[in-house]
Amino acid sequence: MSNLANGIESVHGAAAAMSADVRERADPALVRADRVEQLYSQLPLGLAVTVVIGVIAAIELHEGRLIEPVLFWAGLLAVVVVLHGLLYLGYRNDAHRSAHTAQWLRWLGIGAFAAGAVWGVAAAVFFPSQADERQVFLAFLLAGVISGGIPMYAASWPLFAAYAAAIALPFTYVLATFGNHLFAEIALLIPLFYGVSVAIAYRLNGVFLSGYRLRHAYQRQRVELEEARRQIEASGRKLALFAERSPIAVLELDGEAVVHDVNEAAELLFGYGADELSGASVKRLVLPTYHAEFDREWQRLVASRQPLSATKIRNLRRDGLTVVCEWTVTPLVNREGELVSVIAQGRDVTAQLEAERMKKEFTSTLSHELRTPLTSIIGSLQLINAGVLGEAPKDVMDLTEVAERNSQRLLDIINDILDIEKIDSGKLTLNPQVLRLDDLVREAMVLNKGFGERFKVRFEAKGELTKHEVKADHKRLLQVMTNLLSNAAKFSPEGEVVEITAEEQGPWLRVAVHDRGPGIPEAFRARIFGRFNQADSTTSRQKGGAGLGLAICKRLIEMMRGRIGFQDRDGGGTTFWFELPTHA
């Protein structure tokens, strides 16, 4: 998805650049490489012309003169030409020339100045010593080589400026110092001619530069557009694959609830082919009895454009069977706020609902079918153990007591499991009433006295129990107290006293059960209020319980807007406490 977004973003970026000056987007390094390439590509032509002009000039200048200066000059020109030739070859053989543009431009600048200087030398040396017509020839020649330099060096005007200056400066000096009035005037015109030439070169340079920049900017844009197109294509393919291979039925609908496209899962779920579903109203997949309701919901969806999620609909399959599907329906709206299409994603939850129903039924059955026989077992044993039926031999009584105790243990576990199930399914409801905390604590102590005696542990209230009231479920709060007291009894050494306090702490009333047990192992502290948790798995066999008690207590106390916790006790043992808000 993010790729698609990126792709669209790049396209927007490219489009935005088009409307601004695209030339700004050209890479300056690439533009410079283009300029250098342009300058070097003209070098062979320039050299050829220089050789031709040089030969003509040498022949013309040596007429009736000493041969040595002419040869010297021609030699200079030849050296410059050869060096330029080498420069050209060096440039062409540099595999990384585009990375070395600054260096190649510098060498060419030096070359241009040297070439200009050779022509300048010709002006300085030969002009004064020639007859009139040869002076005209020389002036014409120099003007020609200056002008010829404009197209040669147009890709870099400073090169031309250096080249032309090397010719014009000596020539101007010679003309100005010749002593001839006309020549002095011409000397004044040469800088003007120079300036105009440089200006033209500068303008041409600008045109070239603009061209290069445009070329690179468009090239760059083309690459980016291509990349964006590729990304969009990939995202599109990915999206198509998501829908195609998804185990969830996906349907694309229009604003009139007409199907436009469906994936394979939808075909499988409803038993229709994509071609059969497309073009028809999606209502054929909805039970006719729900059509009116569907229309209302659909109108609301199209009007509000708010997506629907976890909407359960009874759907009709081709074979006439119905399935319950959970739908997520999302209207797609474009930038202009128009509804483009509606995407409906559905999952068959029939089996899941059936499983939930069966779980509920199972729990209910468990509750009834296990408790009813236990009622008979515990009831019978209690009647025997209470001595209602007369005294039995001691061994028999010992065994019936064992049987009663263990039946009770089994019952406690069943009750805990049922409580957890109720908590999970949100069915645990409380019956809050205003209770005096001291009464409740005393009631719990009386109820659990027998349990304590079994472990040879006494429950004792320490200090004065608060008489303040809480709003809580009486039965459930007793269940919490029973849990804490029985845990304390189970883990206390024989003969110990478990102390119970109930005191006011700010807006809270805090009940605490203090034992002298072995304490809570470090590794167990974090999960003590979790499910099926006991510090030592052998404990459950020795002491009874499924390890659900504290998990249930925590949930119960939280439902009564309180909190529960524990801490180490000074002198050994543990204090388990819960706090409930004081009832005002």
């Binding site: 209910s364 509750s367 009834h368 408790r371 009813t372 026989p373 236990l374 009622t375 008979s376 515990i378 009831g379 019978s380 209690q382 009647l383 209470a386 209602v388 039926l389 019952l411 069915k427 409801t429 019956n431």
Partner: protein, 129 residues
């Protein structure tokens, strides 16, 4: 609180084992007179003949459940005013509240303690007008 002590109990319950335990509990521990009915369809006739002080109904019974029987009793002149206590293993708090609202005298959840059952019933009896 009724002037005389609680003596005669009619118990409608399909489970024979529980019938026996309840009978033993009420007769031996509570020193009460007990009539047990297994078939809820015959219950109204038995109750009318036995004239108990209080009726105990099981919640879940084949044929007719406790609440249905309770509503039927309400429609019969001989049984309409009798206090009814439900014994149940699965009723939720809400179900119980609903029954009390309908006029049930009380509820006892299974498993109950046969040692304490007579006292539980007497406590409910004591609260009656």
């Amino acid at each position: 609180m009724p002037e005389r002590a609680l003596e005669r109990i009619c118990y409608v319950e399909d489970d024979e084992d529980i019938q026996r335990i309840v009978r033993m509990s009420l007769e031996r521990v509570g020193k009460m007179k007990v009539e047990v009915v297994s078939d809820p369809n015959l219950a109204i006739g038995v109750i009318a003949r036995f004239k108990p002080d209080l009726v105990m109904l099981d919640w879940m019974m084949p044929g007719m459940d406790g609440p249905t029987l309770f509503r039927k009793m309400k429609q019969q002149a001989e049984t309409a005013t009798l206090p009814v206590v439900f014994i149940t293993a699965k009723a939720t708090q809400r179900d119980m509240e609903e029954l009390v609202a309908l006029g049930a005298a009380g509820t006892i959840s299974k498993p109950f303690s046969p040692k304490d059952l007579p006292d539980q019933l007497r406590a409910i009896w004591a609260k009656l007008p």
